[in-house]
Amino acid sequence: MKKYTDKGKKDTRSGFGAGLYEAGKADANVVALTADLKGSLKMEAFADAFPERYYECGIAEANMVGAAAGLAIGGKIPFVGSFAEFVTGRVYDQIRMEVCYGETNVKIASSHAGITLGEDGATHQTMEDIALMRALPNMVVINPCDWTQTKNATIAAAKYDGPVYLRFGRPKVADFMPDEPFEIGKAYVLNEGKDVTIFATGHMVWEALQAAEALEAEGICAEVIDIATIKPLDTEAVIASAVKTGAVVVAEEHNMAGGLGELIAGVLASTCPKPIEYVNGKDQFGQSGTPAELLAAYGMDAAHIAEAAKKVMERK
């Protein structure tokens, strides 16, 4: 299979910080707001370079989203940054009213998403944010997989005219994607296979590649597709791969309800039904622990993906 090399472990939130700085350098209309999490969101480079375009909002996320909508009405391209839970669930109504129905060009920068936030525990480990953001008309949902893709997705989000939900994480993970412009709405085929398709998003993409390597050793040729844009979904690519391999695994660091798994299942059910296995969180909250411990315990790692692939192939 195609080889992907880890260029060195980096956190995707730093990829966001790098992309935000690049976007700010390229376009003087880019502005950034945070709710007392500048450091956690790696927004220092932007804030230091463009202090007049950076707004510290304090721990007041509702006003932050509303003020961003106003800045967008005034022609600016605002990025609002906080932890995933506090820029989705806490401000769902503000995003629905001011950003999506209000048609404002606001970018929601959502860090520390998923269970890999780790030791802070379930209060901060949102596993429901994709469901919330997917449900909103006008919202684009992007969940990049590594530092490089997050940087490029951030730059692409700034150029896109409309609301974007950009989801990334806390831990340092493999950085393996080529440094190329990000295409919103495109599914990236990372490895071509014939026996089973693994659709993965976010941190699960690297896990999927590791699983594919393990499967290859057992003579199974897995196709790995990075669903970096969850909405709009690249349905053409999803259907084509599912038809080709006839068996599907969907891997995401998100709960079942409203996640990528349900989304792909819905697309395939109405076009070309195929057996599916899900690697995701179930109907439960997480707990404190290291990212690796949590991913293993809650069934979201390379081992679980490989196991799901073998299981789903039996149902072909």
Binding site: Y55, N63, A68, G70, G74, Q94, M97, G102, E103
Partner: protein
């Protein structure tokens, strides 16, 4: 720019529009629309620098207004159409299927003059702050106005915005509170006492002016005082003391007309109390 005498006449027509729209739609919010009619008429026909002919949503080169208390569309749509943003006749479509005059202000429907969607309470101040910040970045020396209901001020986001605007010295922002002391479930003091609203805003770092919201001379004076305070490092709040349902005897001073439509008969009674000055739609 209308004089105080002309503004009174315009306000009478606006009240007629409010009641006739709500009666035709058999739904809507007349009471609160009528408490803020006088000072918002002054805003649109005297105070605000705006030009419907060249208006764009970003309000560049003009003053901007956001109706935070989004349910008060009857007064808002009357002011916008009477100012020339869209045909007066379109008021007949208020709340009807397919209309641009949605129950609450909608950007999606493209009604000219609507800067931002509103209706979920407590959000307009934040949006107004954002537009004011954009104007500062663009060196656009115009004012952003927003109006809050007093009941709406129970929302926490209002006070998040209050702190932010003071901290960031958003001094090209003039907010207004329609202090009519009524909300859906009763009086503001009975539902969730607001206490000394003026002291609260002052404690949050705002310049606060309190004025009668129905006497046109006093209203214009309050706006002049507010304008004079711009650019001095503080956001500005005008608390207009008003009466819910003002202008029609059976609707005045009660929360009962917050979200209820008059019957045809009640509408006729109300029309007899309000002079038709600009021609009904």
């Amino acid at each position: 720019m209308q004089s105080a005498a002309d503004l009174k006449k315009t306000a009478s027509q606006v009240r007629r529009d409010i009641i006739r729209m709500v009666t035709k739609a058999k739904s809507g919010h007349p009471g609160g629309s009528m408490s803020c009619t006088d000072f918002l008429t002054a805003l649109y026909f005297n105070v605000m620098e705006h030009d419907p002919a060249t208006w764009t949503r970003d309000s560049k080169g003009q003053d901007a207004f956001i109706l935070s208390a989004g349910h008060l569309t009857p007064v808002y749509y009357s002011l916008l159409s009477r100012s020339g943003y869209f045909p007066v006749a379109e008021m007949a479509t208020f709340r009807k299927f397919g209309t641009r005059l949605q129950g609450h202000p909608s950007v999606e429907k493209g009604l000219p003059g609507i800067v931002q969607t509103s209706g979920s309470l407590g959000q307009g101040l934040s949006a107004a702050i954002g537009i004011a910040l954009a104007k500062k970045l663009d060196n656009d020396n115009h004012t952003v106005y927003t109006m809050l209901g007093d009941g709406e001020s129970e929302e926490g986001q209002i006070w998040e915005g209050a702190m932010f605007a003071a901290h960031h010295q958003v001094d090209n922002l003039i907010a207004m509170t329609d202090r009519n002391h009524q909300q859906i479930d009763g009086t503001t003091e009975g539902v969730a006492g607001l206490g000394d609203l003026k002291a609260k805003w002052e404690a949050f770092g705002w310049d606060v002016i309190e004025a009668d919201g129905h006497d046109m001379d006093i209203v214009l004076d309050a706006f002049a005082k507010a304008k004079a305070k711009e650019g001095q490092g503080k956001p500005i709040m005008i608390i207009f003391n008003t009466e819910m349902g003002h202008g029609v005897d059976f609707m005045a001073g009660t929360h009962k007309w917050h979200g209820n439509a008059p019957s045809e008969e009640q509408c006729a009674t109300a029309m007899a109390q309000l002079e038709e000055t600009l021609g009904d739609f």
